[in-house]
Protein backbone atom coordinates (compact mmCIF):
# COMPACT_ATOMS: atom_id res chain seq x y z
CA UNK A 1 0.00 0.00 0.00
CA UNK A 2 1.18 3.53 -0.58
CA UNK A 3 1.52 5.75 2.44
CA UNK A 4 1.45 8.93 0.39
CA UNK A 5 0.59 9.69 -3.21
CA UNK A 6 0.93 13.13 -4.75
CA UNK A 7 -0.34 13.71 -8.26
CA UNK A 8 0.33 16.91 -10.16
CA UNK A 9 0.46 19.03 -7.02
CA UNK A 10 0.91 22.73 -7.70
CA UNK A 11 1.22 25.58 -5.24
CA UNK A 12 1.36 29.29 -5.94
CA UNK A 13 1.67 32.21 -3.56
CA UNK A 14 0.09 35.00 -5.58
CA UNK A 15 2.11 35.11 -8.79
CA UNK A 16 4.94 33.00 -7.45
CA UNK A 17 4.69 29.43 -8.64
CA UNK A 18 6.43 27.51 -5.86
CA UNK A 19 5.59 23.87 -6.59
CA UNK A 20 5.27 22.70 -10.17
CA UNK A 21 3.47 19.46 -11.00
CA UNK A 22 4.86 17.35 -8.20
CA UNK A 23 4.01 13.68 -8.62
CA UNK A 24 5.48 11.08 -6.30
CA UNK A 25 4.70 8.07 -4.16
CA UNK A 26 5.87 6.99 -0.74
CA UNK A 27 5.55 3.28 0.00
CA UNK A 28 4.49 1.94 3.38
CA UNK A 29 7.47 1.89 5.74
CA UNK A 30 9.68 3.85 3.40
CA UNK A 31 12.06 6.64 4.48
CA UNK A 32 11.90 9.34 1.85
CA UNK A 33 14.11 12.41 1.93
CA UNK A 34 13.28 15.62 0.08
CA UNK A 35 16.53 17.37 -0.63
CA UNK A 36 17.40 20.50 -2.52
CA UNK A 37 19.01 23.91 -2.13
CA UNK A 38 17.19 26.49 0.02
CA UNK A 39 14.19 28.00 -1.71
CA UNK A 40 13.55 24.91 -3.85
CA UNK A 41 10.10 24.39 -2.31
CA UNK A 42 10.84 21.31 -0.23
CA UNK A 43 9.48 22.77 3.01
CA UNK A 44 6.42 24.11 1.20
CA UNK A 45 5.82 20.63 -0.21
CA UNK A 46 5.98 19.21 3.31
CA UNK A 47 3.51 21.84 4.52
CA UNK A 48 1.15 21.00 1.68
CA UNK A 49 1.33 17.31 2.66
CA UNK A 50 0.69 18.24 6.30
CA UNK A 51 -2.26 20.42 5.33
CA UNK A 52 -0.75 23.61 6.74
CA UNK A 53 -0.88 25.06 3.22
CA UNK A 54 -3.52 24.23 0.65
CA UNK A 55 -2.39 22.90 -2.70
CA UNK A 56 -3.45 25.20 -5.54
CA UNK A 57 -4.21 22.13 -7.63
CA UNK A 58 -3.48 18.42 -7.68
CA UNK A 59 -4.37 15.53 -5.44
CA UNK A 60 -2.90 14.40 -2.11
CA UNK A 61 -3.58 10.88 -0.85
CA UNK A 62 -2.47 9.67 2.55
CA UNK A 63 -3.00 5.97 3.28
CA UNK A 64 -5.32 5.61 0.32
CA UNK A 65 -7.61 8.48 1.33
CA UNK A 66 -7.76 11.78 -0.47
CA UNK A 67 -6.98 14.45 2.10
CA UNK A 68 -7.02 17.72 0.15
CA UNK A 69 -9.83 19.05 2.34
CA UNK A 70 -8.99 17.23 5.57
CA UNK A 71 -7.57 19.41 8.39
CA UNK A 72 -3.99 18.65 9.51
CA UNK A 73 -5.00 16.96 12.75
CA UNK A 74 -7.20 14.43 10.93
CA UNK A 75 -4.68 13.45 8.27
CA UNK A 76 -2.96 10.82 10.37
CA UNK A 77 0.35 12.65 10.29
CA UNK A 78 2.77 13.94 12.89
CA UNK A 79 5.37 16.57 12.26
CA UNK A 80 8.72 17.44 13.81
CA UNK A 81 9.75 21.04 13.27
CA UNK A 82 13.15 22.60 12.82
CA UNK A 83 12.59 24.96 15.75
CA UNK A 84 11.16 22.09 17.88
CA UNK A 85 7.97 24.13 18.42
CA UNK A 86 7.36 22.73 21.89
CA UNK A 87 4.55 24.27 23.90
CA UNK A 88 6.40 26.47 26.40
CA UNK A 89 3.68 26.27 29.05
CA UNK A 90 3.48 22.47 29.14
CA UNK A 91 5.85 19.93 30.67
CA UNK A 92 7.48 17.28 28.52
CA UNK A 93 4.65 14.91 29.43
CA UNK A 94 2.08 17.59 28.61
CA UNK A 95 3.71 18.26 25.26
CA UNK A 96 3.62 14.60 24.37
CA UNK A 97 0.05 13.94 25.51
CA UNK A 98 -1.72 17.04 24.20
CA UNK A 99 -2.66 15.62 20.81
CA UNK A 100 -3.93 12.37 22.34
CA UNK A 101 -6.00 14.30 24.86
CA UNK A 102 -7.47 16.31 21.99
CA UNK A 103 -8.42 13.01 20.35
CA UNK A 104 -10.08 11.98 23.65
CA UNK A 105 -8.03 8.81 24.03
CA UNK A 106 -8.28 6.84 27.26
CA UNK A 107 -5.91 7.68 30.11
CA UNK A 108 -4.40 4.20 30.23
CA UNK A 109 -3.63 4.27 26.53
CA UNK A 110 -2.02 7.72 26.74
CA UNK A 111 0.07 6.60 29.70
CA UNK A 112 1.25 3.51 27.87
CA UNK A 113 2.19 5.36 24.69
CA UNK A 114 4.09 8.01 26.62
CA UNK A 115 6.03 5.42 28.58
CA UNK A 116 6.97 3.52 25.40
CA UNK A 117 8.03 6.68 23.58
CA UNK A 118 9.96 8.11 26.51
CA UNK A 119 11.82 4.82 26.96
CA UNK A 120 12.71 4.76 23.28
CA UNK A 121 14.08 8.30 23.41
CA UNK A 122 15.61 8.17 26.92
CA UNK A 123 13.28 10.93 28.06
CA UNK A 124 12.07 9.25 31.24
CA UNK A 125 14.03 11.46 33.69
CA UNK A 126 12.72 14.63 32.03
CA UNK A 127 8.98 13.97 31.79
CA UNK A 128 8.08 16.61 34.37
CA UNK A 129 10.47 19.29 33.16
CA UNK A 130 9.52 22.23 31.02
CA UNK A 131 11.00 22.87 27.56
CA UNK A 132 13.00 25.85 28.85
CA UNK A 133 14.84 23.51 31.23
CA UNK A 134 16.05 21.18 28.46
CA UNK A 135 19.06 21.28 26.15
CA UNK A 136 18.68 21.51 22.39
CA UNK A 137 19.14 17.79 21.83
CA UNK A 138 16.64 16.94 24.54
CA UNK A 139 14.10 19.34 23.08
CA UNK A 140 14.49 17.73 19.70
CA UNK A 141 13.90 14.32 21.27
CA UNK A 142 10.73 15.63 22.95
CA UNK A 143 9.55 16.92 19.59
CA UNK A 144 10.17 13.48 18.09
CA UNK A 145 8.44 11.87 21.09
CA UNK A 146 5.43 14.10 20.55
CA UNK A 147 5.22 12.68 17.04
CA UNK A 148 5.75 9.05 18.04
CA UNK A 149 2.95 8.90 20.63
CA UNK A 150 0.39 9.64 17.96
CA UNK A 151 1.30 6.52 15.95
CA UNK A 152 0.78 8.43 12.71
CA UNK A 153 0.51 6.88 9.25
CA UNK A 154 3.17 9.28 8.12
CA UNK A 155 5.96 11.11 9.96
CA UNK A 156 7.04 14.47 8.60
CA UNK A 157 10.42 15.89 9.57
CA UNK A 158 11.19 19.49 8.64
CA UNK A 159 14.98 19.91 8.81
CA UNK A 160 15.01 18.50 12.35
CA UNK A 161 18.77 18.54 12.78
CA UNK A 162 19.73 21.97 11.51
CA UNK A 163 19.53 23.60 14.95
CA UNK A 164 21.86 21.05 16.55
CA UNK A 165 25.64 21.15 16.72
CA UNK A 166 27.73 18.82 14.57
CA UNK A 167 28.36 16.04 17.11
CA UNK A 168 24.75 15.95 18.26
CA UNK A 169 23.59 16.02 14.67
CA UNK A 170 25.40 12.80 13.89
CA UNK A 171 24.02 11.07 17.01
CA UNK A 172 20.47 12.23 16.36
CA UNK A 173 20.78 11.14 12.73
CA UNK A 174 21.61 7.62 13.88
CA UNK A 175 18.79 7.78 16.43
CA UNK A 176 16.31 8.71 13.72
CA UNK A 177 17.54 5.85 11.53
CA UNK A 178 17.13 3.43 14.47
CA UNK A 179 13.71 4.86 15.17
CA UNK A 180 12.67 4.23 11.60
CA UNK A 181 13.78 0.61 11.89
CA UNK A 182 12.04 0.16 15.25
CA UNK A 183 8.75 1.79 14.25
CA UNK A 184 8.68 0.56 10.68
CA UNK A 185 6.74 3.72 9.86
CA UNK A 186 6.60 5.78 6.71
CA UNK A 187 8.67 8.93 7.07
CA UNK A 188 9.28 12.01 5.00
CA UNK A 189 12.31 14.02 5.88
CA UNK A 190 13.21 17.43 4.48
CA UNK A 191 16.80 18.62 4.49
CA UNK A 192 19.24 20.69 2.48
CA UNK A 193 22.14 18.56 3.73
CA UNK A 194 23.03 15.90 1.20
CA UNK A 195 24.89 13.83 3.83
CA UNK A 196 21.67 13.44 5.83
CA UNK A 197 19.86 12.54 2.64
CA UNK A 198 22.41 9.93 1.58
CA UNK A 199 22.69 8.31 5.01
CA UNK A 200 19.01 8.16 6.00
CA UNK A 201 16.99 7.69 2.86
CA UNK A 202 15.50 4.64 1.25
CA UNK A 203 14.50 7.01 -1.51
CA UNK A 204 15.68 10.53 -2.27
CA UNK A 205 13.61 13.14 -4.04
CA UNK A 206 15.82 15.90 -5.42
CA UNK A 207 13.97 19.18 -5.87
CA UNK A 208 15.00 22.35 -7.65
CA UNK A 209 12.87 25.45 -8.25
CA UNK A 210 9.70 23.60 -7.28
CA UNK A 211 10.28 20.74 -9.69
CA UNK A 212 11.28 17.14 -9.02
CA UNK A 213 14.66 16.64 -10.68
CA UNK A 214 15.05 12.95 -9.92
CA UNK A 215 13.70 10.26 -7.60
CA UNK A 216 15.61 7.15 -6.63
CA UNK A 217 17.63 5.34 -4.01
CA UNK A 218 20.76 7.15 -2.81
CA UNK A 219 23.11 4.91 -4.79
CA UNK A 220 20.98 5.13 -7.92
CA UNK A 221 21.17 8.89 -7.78
CA UNK A 222 24.85 8.85 -6.99
CA UNK A 223 25.80 6.39 -9.71
CA UNK A 224 23.27 7.39 -12.26
CA UNK A 225 22.28 11.08 -11.98
CA UNK A 226 19.75 12.26 -14.54
CA UNK A 227 21.32 15.66 -14.96
CA UNK A 228 24.13 17.96 -13.98
CA UNK A 229 22.22 19.42 -11.03
CA UNK A 230 21.65 16.09 -9.31
CA UNK A 231 25.21 15.00 -10.10
CA UNK A 232 26.60 18.16 -8.52
CA UNK A 233 24.25 18.22 -5.54
CA UNK A 234 24.90 14.72 -4.20
CA UNK A 235 28.35 13.68 -3.08
CA UNK A 236 30.88 15.50 -0.97
CA UNK A 237 33.15 16.99 -2.16
CA UNK A 238 30.87 17.57 -5.14
CA UNK A 239 31.47 16.41 -8.68
CA UNK A 240 33.97 18.23 -10.90
CA UNK A 241 32.59 19.68 -14.11
CA UNK A 242 35.00 20.39 -16.93
CA UNK A 243 34.32 21.60 -20.46
CA UNK A 244 34.94 18.82 -22.96
CA UNK A 245 37.40 21.09 -24.75
CA UNK A 246 39.83 20.89 -21.83
CA UNK A 247 40.08 17.15 -22.22
CA UNK A 248 40.94 17.37 -25.91
CA UNK A 249 37.65 16.08 -27.32
CA UNK A 250 36.69 19.41 -28.80
CA UNK A 251 32.93 19.14 -28.05
CA UNK A 252 30.59 21.62 -26.37
CA UNK A 253 29.49 19.23 -23.64
CA UNK A 254 30.47 19.13 -19.99
CA UNK A 255 32.31 16.20 -18.47
CA UNK A 256 31.59 15.34 -14.83
CA UNK A 257 34.10 13.39 -12.78
CA UNK A 258 33.68 12.54 -9.10
CA UNK A 259 36.63 13.62 -6.91
CA UNK A 260 37.37 10.01 -5.96
CA UNK A 261 37.62 9.04 -9.64
CA UNK A 262 40.59 11.33 -10.29
CA UNK A 263 43.98 9.71 -9.85
CA UNK A 264 47.55 10.95 -9.89
CA UNK A 265 49.39 9.82 -13.01
CA UNK A 266 52.61 11.21 -14.49
CA UNK A 267 51.24 10.94 -18.02
CA UNK A 268 47.63 11.90 -17.21
CA UNK A 269 45.68 14.20 -19.54
CA UNK A 270 44.90 16.87 -16.91
CA UNK A 271 47.75 19.20 -16.00
CA UNK A 272 46.92 20.96 -12.74
CA UNK A 273 48.50 23.38 -10.28
CA UNK A 274 47.59 22.69 -6.65
CA UNK A 275 45.88 25.65 -4.96
CA UNK A 276 44.90 24.06 -1.66
CA UNK A 277 45.29 20.76 0.17
CA UNK A 278 42.96 19.41 2.88
CA UNK A 279 44.62 16.60 4.80
CA UNK A 280 41.96 14.62 6.63
CA UNK A 281 44.14 11.71 7.68
CA UNK A 282 42.20 9.00 5.94
CA UNK A 283 41.78 11.03 2.78
CA UNK A 284 43.53 13.93 1.15
CA UNK A 285 41.44 16.46 -0.78
CA UNK A 286 43.48 18.27 -3.41
CA UNK A 287 41.98 21.42 -4.87
CA UNK A 288 43.80 22.34 -8.03
CA UNK A 289 43.40 24.56 -11.09
CA UNK A 290 43.22 23.02 -14.54
CA UNK A 291 43.61 26.12 -16.71
CA UNK A 292 40.97 28.30 -15.03
CA UNK A 293 38.77 25.50 -13.80
CA UNK A 294 38.90 24.45 -10.17
CA UNK A 295 39.09 20.69 -9.70
CA UNK A 296 38.85 18.65 -6.51
CA UNK A 297 40.51 15.28 -6.26
CA UNK A 298 39.96 12.99 -3.33
CA UNK A 299 42.99 10.78 -2.86
CA UNK A 300 42.89 7.86 -0.51
CA UNK A 301 45.47 7.89 2.28
CA UNK A 302 48.05 10.56 3.05
CA UNK A 303 50.05 12.35 0.37
CA UNK A 304 52.89 14.82 0.60
CA UNK A 305 51.39 17.41 -1.71
CA UNK A 306 51.78 21.13 -1.15
CA UNK A 307 50.31 24.32 -2.63
CA UNK A 308 51.77 25.43 -5.92
CA UNK A 309 52.89 21.96 -6.94
CA UNK A 310 52.31 20.84 -10.54
CA UNK A 311 50.44 17.55 -10.85
CA UNK A 312 48.89 15.46 -13.59
CA UNK A 313 45.60 13.65 -13.11
CA UNK A 314 43.96 10.88 -15.01
CA UNK A 315 40.47 9.40 -14.78
CA UNK A 316 38.61 6.32 -15.88
CA UNK A 317 36.55 7.18 -18.96
CA UNK A 318 33.73 4.83 -17.97
CA UNK A 319 33.29 6.69 -14.67
CA UNK A 320 32.92 10.07 -16.34
CA UNK A 321 29.51 11.57 -16.96
CA UNK A 322 28.64 13.70 -19.97
CA UNK A 323 26.11 16.52 -19.85
CA UNK A 324 24.83 18.69 -22.68
CA UNK A 325 24.66 22.47 -22.59
CA UNK A 326 21.26 22.33 -20.78
CA UNK A 327 22.70 20.09 -18.07
CA UNK A 328 20.92 16.96 -19.30
CA UNK A 329 22.84 13.70 -19.05
CA UNK A 330 24.14 12.24 -22.32
CA UNK A 331 24.50 8.50 -22.30
Amino acid sequence: MTALMLSNVNKSFGNVHVLKDITLEVEEGEFVVFVGPSGCGKSTLLRVIAGLEDASSGEINIGGQQVNLVPPSKRGIAMVFQSYALYPHLSVRGNMTLALKQEKQSKAMIEERVSIASRMLNLEPYLDRYPSELSGGQRQRVAIGRAIVRKPKLFLFDEPLSNLDAALRMNTRIEIANLHRALDASMIYVTHDQTEAMTLADKIVVLRDGRVEQIGSPMELYNNPANQFVAGFLGSPSMNFLPEGLLGDGGQNTIGIRPEDLFLADDGPLAARVSHVEKLGGDTNVIAKVHDQSVTARLFGQHAISEGQELRFTYAAEKAYRFDADGQRLR
Partner: protein, 279 residues
Protein backbone atom coordinates in the same frame (compact mmCIF):
# COMPACT_ATOMS: atom_id res chain seq x y z
CA UNK B 1 28.47 49.33 25.48
CA UNK B 2 30.01 47.21 28.21
CA UNK B 3 32.97 49.54 28.35
CA UNK B 4 30.72 52.55 28.84
CA UNK B 5 28.96 50.74 31.64
CA UNK B 6 32.16 50.06 33.53
CA UNK B 7 33.48 53.60 33.23
CA UNK B 8 32.69 55.19 36.65
CA UNK B 9 32.18 58.66 35.20
CA UNK B 10 29.67 57.40 32.66
CA UNK B 11 27.90 55.36 35.31
CA UNK B 12 27.63 58.42 37.56
CA UNK B 13 26.41 60.63 34.72
CA UNK B 14 23.84 58.04 33.69
CA UNK B 15 22.53 57.59 37.20
CA UNK B 16 22.60 61.35 37.78
CA UNK B 17 20.45 61.97 34.72
CA UNK B 18 18.02 59.22 35.69
CA UNK B 19 17.78 60.43 39.30
CA UNK B 20 17.20 64.01 38.12
CA UNK B 21 14.45 62.85 35.81
CA UNK B 22 12.86 60.77 38.58
CA UNK B 23 12.89 63.79 40.90
CA UNK B 24 11.28 66.03 38.29
CA UNK B 25 8.65 63.42 37.51
CA UNK B 26 7.84 62.71 41.14
CA UNK B 27 7.90 66.33 42.36
CA UNK B 28 4.26 67.21 41.58
CA UNK B 29 3.09 63.95 43.16
CA UNK B 30 5.19 64.73 46.20
CA UNK B 31 3.77 68.26 46.51
CA UNK B 32 0.22 66.96 46.23
CA UNK B 33 0.87 64.33 48.88
CA UNK B 34 2.47 66.60 51.48
CA UNK B 35 -0.06 69.37 51.02
CA UNK B 36 -2.97 66.99 51.35
CA UNK B 37 -1.87 66.53 54.97
CA UNK B 38 -1.69 70.25 55.78
CA UNK B 39 -4.12 72.90 56.89
CA UNK B 40 -5.40 75.31 54.27
CA UNK B 41 -3.39 78.17 55.73
CA UNK B 42 -0.19 76.12 55.74
CA UNK B 43 -0.71 75.09 52.12
CA UNK B 44 -0.65 78.69 50.99
CA UNK B 45 1.98 79.97 53.39
CA UNK B 46 4.61 77.35 52.59
CA UNK B 47 3.52 75.05 49.77
CA UNK B 48 6.81 73.13 49.75
CA UNK B 49 7.16 72.56 53.49
CA UNK B 50 6.56 69.17 55.02
CA UNK B 51 3.57 68.93 57.36
CA UNK B 52 4.73 69.79 60.89
CA UNK B 53 2.96 69.23 64.20
CA UNK B 54 1.42 72.66 63.76
CA UNK B 55 0.29 72.40 60.18
CA UNK B 56 -0.71 68.72 60.13
CA UNK B 57 -4.38 68.21 59.41
CA UNK B 58 -6.60 65.51 57.98
CA UNK B 59 -9.39 67.98 57.22
CA UNK B 60 -9.11 67.36 53.48
CA UNK B 61 -9.60 63.62 53.83
CA UNK B 62 -12.48 64.15 56.24
CA UNK B 63 -14.23 66.45 53.75
CA UNK B 64 -13.72 63.97 50.96
CA UNK B 65 -15.15 61.13 53.02
CA UNK B 66 -18.15 63.18 54.15
CA UNK B 67 -18.98 65.08 51.01
CA UNK B 68 -19.90 63.29 47.85
CA UNK B 69 -19.93 59.57 47.45
CA UNK B 70 -16.21 59.16 47.07
CA UNK B 71 -16.21 55.37 47.19
CA UNK B 72 -18.84 55.21 44.49
CA UNK B 73 -16.76 57.46 42.25
CA UNK B 74 -13.77 55.33 43.00
CA UNK B 75 -15.65 52.19 42.10
CA UNK B 76 -16.97 53.76 38.88
CA UNK B 77 -13.48 54.72 37.80
CA UNK B 78 -12.21 51.27 38.59
CA UNK B 79 -15.03 49.54 36.70
CA UNK B 80 -14.63 51.79 33.66
CA UNK B 81 -10.84 51.45 33.55
CA UNK B 82 -10.65 47.71 34.10
CA UNK B 83 -13.54 46.91 31.77
CA UNK B 84 -12.18 49.16 29.02
CA UNK B 85 -8.71 47.65 29.34
CA UNK B 86 -10.20 44.16 29.21
CA UNK B 87 -12.10 44.87 26.01
CA UNK B 88 -9.22 46.76 24.41
CA UNK B 89 -6.86 43.86 25.08
CA UNK B 90 -9.34 41.15 24.11
CA UNK B 91 -10.58 42.68 20.86
CA UNK B 92 -7.24 44.30 20.04
CA UNK B 93 -5.40 41.00 20.41
CA UNK B 94 -8.00 39.11 18.40
CA UNK B 95 -7.94 41.63 15.57
CA UNK B 96 -4.15 41.70 15.65
CA UNK B 97 -4.01 37.91 15.47
CA UNK B 98 -6.36 37.82 12.51
CA UNK B 99 -4.35 40.48 10.70
CA UNK B 100 -1.00 38.85 11.34
CA UNK B 101 -1.99 35.20 10.94
CA UNK B 102 -4.54 34.91 8.17
CA UNK B 103 -4.17 35.76 4.53
CA UNK B 104 -7.35 37.32 3.24
CA UNK B 105 -8.35 39.89 0.68
CA UNK B 106 -7.99 43.39 2.06
CA UNK B 107 -5.77 42.32 4.95
CA UNK B 108 -3.39 45.26 4.51
CA UNK B 109 -6.21 47.76 3.96
CA UNK B 110 -8.00 46.51 7.06
CA UNK B 111 -4.79 46.88 9.07
CA UNK B 112 -4.31 50.45 7.86
CA UNK B 113 -7.95 51.27 8.52
CA UNK B 114 -7.70 50.00 12.09
CA UNK B 115 -4.46 51.92 12.63
CA UNK B 116 -5.98 55.14 11.28
CA UNK B 117 -7.54 55.83 14.68
CA UNK B 118 -4.08 56.47 16.11
CA UNK B 119 -3.88 59.68 14.12
CA UNK B 120 -7.44 60.95 14.62
CA UNK B 121 -8.32 62.05 18.16
CA UNK B 122 -11.61 60.53 19.24
CA UNK B 123 -12.68 63.81 20.85
CA UNK B 124 -13.33 65.27 17.38
CA UNK B 125 -16.33 62.97 17.26
CA UNK B 126 -17.70 63.98 20.64
CA UNK B 127 -20.93 65.51 19.32
CA UNK B 128 -21.70 62.49 17.15
CA UNK B 129 -20.83 60.15 20.00
CA UNK B 130 -23.14 62.05 22.35
CA UNK B 131 -25.98 61.92 19.80
CA UNK B 132 -25.38 58.20 19.39
CA UNK B 133 -25.39 57.59 23.13
CA UNK B 134 -28.59 59.62 23.53
CA UNK B 135 -30.23 57.64 20.71
CA UNK B 136 -29.25 54.31 22.28
CA UNK B 137 -30.14 55.46 25.75
CA UNK B 138 -26.65 54.87 27.09
CA UNK B 139 -26.13 58.38 28.41
CA UNK B 140 -25.36 58.37 32.14
CA UNK B 141 -24.36 54.75 32.15
CA UNK B 142 -20.87 53.37 32.65
CA UNK B 143 -21.29 51.45 29.37
CA UNK B 144 -21.14 54.74 27.47
CA UNK B 145 -17.65 55.36 28.87
CA UNK B 146 -16.47 51.77 28.48
CA UNK B 147 -17.51 51.68 24.82
CA UNK B 148 -15.85 55.00 24.03
CA UNK B 149 -12.61 54.09 25.77
CA UNK B 150 -12.54 50.72 24.08
CA UNK B 151 -12.87 52.41 20.72
CA UNK B 152 -10.21 54.91 21.71
CA UNK B 153 -7.71 52.25 22.75
CA UNK B 154 -8.19 49.75 19.94
CA UNK B 155 -6.15 51.35 17.13
CA UNK B 156 -2.90 51.48 19.09
CA UNK B 157 -3.54 48.06 20.59
CA UNK B 158 -4.08 46.46 17.17
CA UNK B 159 -1.03 48.23 15.78
CA UNK B 160 1.36 47.21 18.56
CA UNK B 161 0.02 43.70 19.08
CA UNK B 162 -0.02 42.72 15.43
CA UNK B 163 3.69 43.59 15.20
CA UNK B 164 4.39 41.31 18.16
CA UNK B 165 2.14 38.54 16.93
CA UNK B 166 4.03 38.39 13.66
CA UNK B 167 7.08 37.38 15.69
CA UNK B 168 5.42 34.37 17.31
CA UNK B 169 6.88 31.26 15.73
CA UNK B 170 4.78 29.82 12.90
CA UNK B 171 6.06 26.36 13.76
CA UNK B 172 4.46 26.59 17.19
CA UNK B 173 1.06 27.49 15.76
CA UNK B 174 1.40 24.78 13.14
CA UNK B 175 2.36 22.22 15.77
CA UNK B 176 -0.86 23.15 17.56
CA UNK B 177 -2.87 22.71 14.37
CA UNK B 178 -1.37 19.29 13.74
CA UNK B 179 -2.14 18.32 17.33
CA UNK B 180 -5.75 19.23 16.74
CA UNK B 181 -6.03 22.47 18.72
CA UNK B 182 -8.74 24.85 17.56
CA UNK B 183 -7.76 28.31 16.34
CA UNK B 184 -9.18 29.76 19.56
CA UNK B 185 -7.09 27.44 21.71
CA UNK B 186 -4.00 28.29 19.68
CA UNK B 187 -4.75 31.98 20.17
CA UNK B 188 -5.50 31.87 23.90
CA UNK B 189 -3.11 29.14 25.03
CA UNK B 190 -0.10 29.50 22.72
CA UNK B 191 -0.02 33.01 21.28
CA UNK B 192 -1.36 35.22 24.07
CA UNK B 193 1.12 34.03 26.75
CA UNK B 194 3.97 34.76 24.34
CA UNK B 195 2.86 38.34 23.66
CA UNK B 196 2.17 39.10 27.34
CA UNK B 197 4.82 41.85 27.52
CA UNK B 198 3.19 43.62 24.58
CA UNK B 199 -0.21 43.25 26.23
CA UNK B 200 1.14 44.90 29.38
CA UNK B 201 2.60 47.74 27.32
CA UNK B 202 -0.75 48.36 25.67
CA UNK B 203 -2.52 48.12 29.03
CA UNK B 204 -0.33 50.80 30.64
CA UNK B 205 -0.51 53.11 27.64
CA UNK B 206 -4.29 52.92 27.76
CA UNK B 207 -4.85 52.81 31.49
CA UNK B 208 -3.56 56.23 32.52
CA UNK B 209 -5.48 58.36 29.97
CA UNK B 210 -8.67 56.46 30.78
CA UNK B 211 -8.24 56.87 34.54
CA UNK B 212 -7.42 60.57 34.20
CA UNK B 213 -10.03 61.45 31.61
CA UNK B 214 -12.42 64.27 32.49
CA UNK B 215 -13.87 65.00 29.07
CA UNK B 216 -16.07 61.99 28.39
CA UNK B 217 -17.32 61.48 31.98
CA UNK B 218 -18.35 65.13 32.01
CA UNK B 219 -20.23 64.83 28.71
CA UNK B 220 -21.52 61.27 28.64
CA UNK B 221 -22.01 60.33 32.29
CA UNK B 222 -22.23 63.35 34.60
CA UNK B 223 -24.99 61.83 36.75
CA UNK B 224 -24.21 61.42 40.44
CA UNK B 225 -24.27 57.62 40.33
CA UNK B 226 -21.97 57.33 37.30
CA UNK B 227 -19.41 60.00 38.18
CA UNK B 228 -15.80 58.93 37.93
CA UNK B 229 -13.13 59.93 40.40
CA UNK B 230 -11.71 62.72 38.26
CA UNK B 231 -15.16 64.18 37.70
CA UNK B 232 -16.11 63.67 41.36
CA UNK B 233 -13.07 65.64 42.52
CA UNK B 234 -14.32 68.62 40.55
CA UNK B 235 -17.05 69.29 43.15
CA UNK B 236 -14.36 70.74 45.39
CA UNK B 237 -13.24 73.17 42.71
CA UNK B 238 -15.66 76.06 42.67
CA UNK B 239 -15.82 79.15 40.50
CA UNK B 240 -14.95 81.39 43.44
CA UNK B 241 -13.84 79.10 46.27
CA UNK B 242 -11.83 75.93 45.92
CA UNK B 243 -11.45 73.51 48.78
CA UNK B 244 -7.80 72.77 48.18
CA UNK B 245 -7.53 70.37 51.12
CA UNK B 246 -10.26 68.21 49.67
CA UNK B 247 -8.97 68.43 46.09
CA UNK B 248 -5.46 67.43 47.11
CA UNK B 249 -6.72 64.60 49.31
CA UNK B 250 -8.97 63.27 46.55
CA UNK B 251 -6.10 63.40 44.06
CA UNK B 252 -3.73 61.66 46.50
CA UNK B 253 -6.17 58.83 46.87
CA UNK B 254 -6.77 58.70 43.10
CA UNK B 255 -3.07 58.09 42.53
CA UNK B 256 -3.05 54.87 44.55
CA UNK B 257 -5.00 52.47 42.32
CA UNK B 258 -3.11 53.54 39.20
CA UNK B 259 0.08 52.94 41.10
CA UNK B 260 -1.03 49.44 42.06
CA UNK B 261 -2.09 48.57 38.51
CA UNK B 262 1.16 50.00 37.21
CA UNK B 263 3.24 47.87 39.55
CA UNK B 264 1.33 44.81 38.37
CA UNK B 265 2.01 45.60 34.72
CA UNK B 266 5.46 47.15 35.08
CA UNK B 267 7.57 44.00 35.15
CA UNK B 268 5.93 42.90 31.94
CA UNK B 269 6.13 46.44 30.59
CA UNK B 270 9.89 46.69 30.89
CA UNK B 271 10.29 43.49 28.91
CA UNK B 272 7.78 44.77 26.38
CA UNK B 273 9.53 48.07 25.78
CA UNK B 274 13.02 46.62 25.49
CA UNK B 275 12.03 43.71 23.31
CA UNK B 276 10.30 46.13 21.00
CA UNK B 277 13.35 48.38 20.94
CA UNK B 278 15.91 45.89 19.73
CA UNK B 279 13.80 44.46 16.96
Amino acid sequence: MNKARQNPFNTAAMHGALILYTLIALFPVFVILINSFKTRRAIFREPLALPSADSFSLIGYETVMKQGDFFLYFQNSMIVTVASLFFVLLFGAMAAYALSEYQFRGNLLMGLYLALGIMIPIRIGTVAILEMMVATGLVNTLWALILVYTAQGLPLAVFILSEFMRQVSDDLKNAGRIDGLSEYTIFFRLVLPLVRPAMATVAVFNMIPIWNDLWFPLILAPAEETKTLTLGSQVFIGQFVTDWNAVLSALSMAILPVLVLYVIFSRQLIRGITSGAVK
